[in-house]
């Protein structure tokens, strides 16, 4: 290993060798960073998570819409119950009147 390196360095200036070394080191650092990021698979997992959430959003909106409709129906039921209660109060009076008329 040392011999070919020595042969490669023969005839080159120190400055050239230094710049080559700096370039190779910086390339190694960049490659290492990319490999670390690729190895963590963060891009894949986060992208998949974002896609799944987008798919779920439709179901969430539908559920919210259903809940709002249910609340409206509940309000209408309350109105109907109040009307029935009023009529029941009236029916009590009617019963008393009927009893009196039958006597």
């Amino acid at each position: 290993m040392a011999v070919p390196e020595a042969q490669a360095r023969f005839g080159q200036s120190v400055k050239g060798l230094l710049s080559e070394k700096v370039g190779s080191c910086s390339g190694d650092v960049i490659a290492l960073t990319r490999q670390v990021l690729k190895g963590s698979r963060s891009q894949e997992l986060l992208g998949q998570a974002a896609r799944n959430m987008v798919l779920q959003e439709d179901a969430i909106l539908h559920s919210e819409d259903s809940l709002r409709k249910m609340s409206i129906i509940t309000t209408h039921l309350q109105y109907q119950q109040e009307a029935i209660q009023k009529n029941v109060e009236h029916s009590r009076n009617l019963q008393d009147q009927l009893r009196h008329s039958l006597k």
Partner: protein, 182 residues
């Protein structure tokens, strides 16, 4: 080949034969002394920018060696180096920022979804409370509803009885008419 052609005055280790060494030794010693004195005096002063070619100095075993001639550093090399490392740092930061941005996106999406779910939770709490009240009021109305059911059953029975009575009275009328004709 190419390196030697373009290398100019750098990185050449010259080996001078011993014959030349003897003639140059006297000159070398005087020059070395001059250089040493110059070095002492010029430690604080800025050195002139000129190619420094060190003169051969060592004389070991009859073989004279010379140190390589080096080119002077460019005046803006420090600035270039600083620029290079700054840009490399920016590049690496950018590589890592991409992942951070993905995490931030997911965080925002999760926050919005949690807000939606909180709204839905409030709505469902209201619905459950209202339905509980409705059930209680329905339970209070239950006796009246039972009375209504009883009344309906009785009315249905009355209606049946009325139909039967009507049928019986019609039969009776028919018989009476038949007897009257006789």
């Amino acid at each position: 080949m190419a390196a030697s052609e373009g290398g100019s005055s750098a990185a050449d280790i010259a080996v001078i034969p011993a014959q030349r060494l003897e003639s140059a030794s006297g000159v070398m010693n005087a020059d070395a002394q001059e250089e040493a004195s110059e070095l002492e005096s010029s430690e604080t002063a800025p050195r002139p920018i000129a190619p420094t070619s060190k003169k051969p100095g060592n004389n070991n075993g009859g073989v004279e060696t010379a140190e390589e001639a080096t080119e002077p550093a460019e005046p803006d090399i420090n600035e270039l180096c600083r620029d290079m490392f700054e840009k490399m740092a920016i590049f690496l930061q950018g590589e890592l920022t991409a992942t951070c941005e993905d995490y931030k996106l997911l965080e925002n999406m999760n926050k919005l979804t949690s807000l939606k779910y909180m709204e839905m939770k409030d709505i469902s709490i209201n619905i459950s409370r209202n339905l509980q009240d409705l059930n209680q009021k329905y339970a209070s109305l239950q006796p009246y509803l039972d009375q209504i059911n009883q009344i309906e059953e009785q009315v249905t029975a009355l209606e049946q009885a009325a139909y039967k009575l009507d049928t019986y009275s019609k039969k009776l009328e028919a018989k009476f008419k038949k007897l009257e004709k006789r």
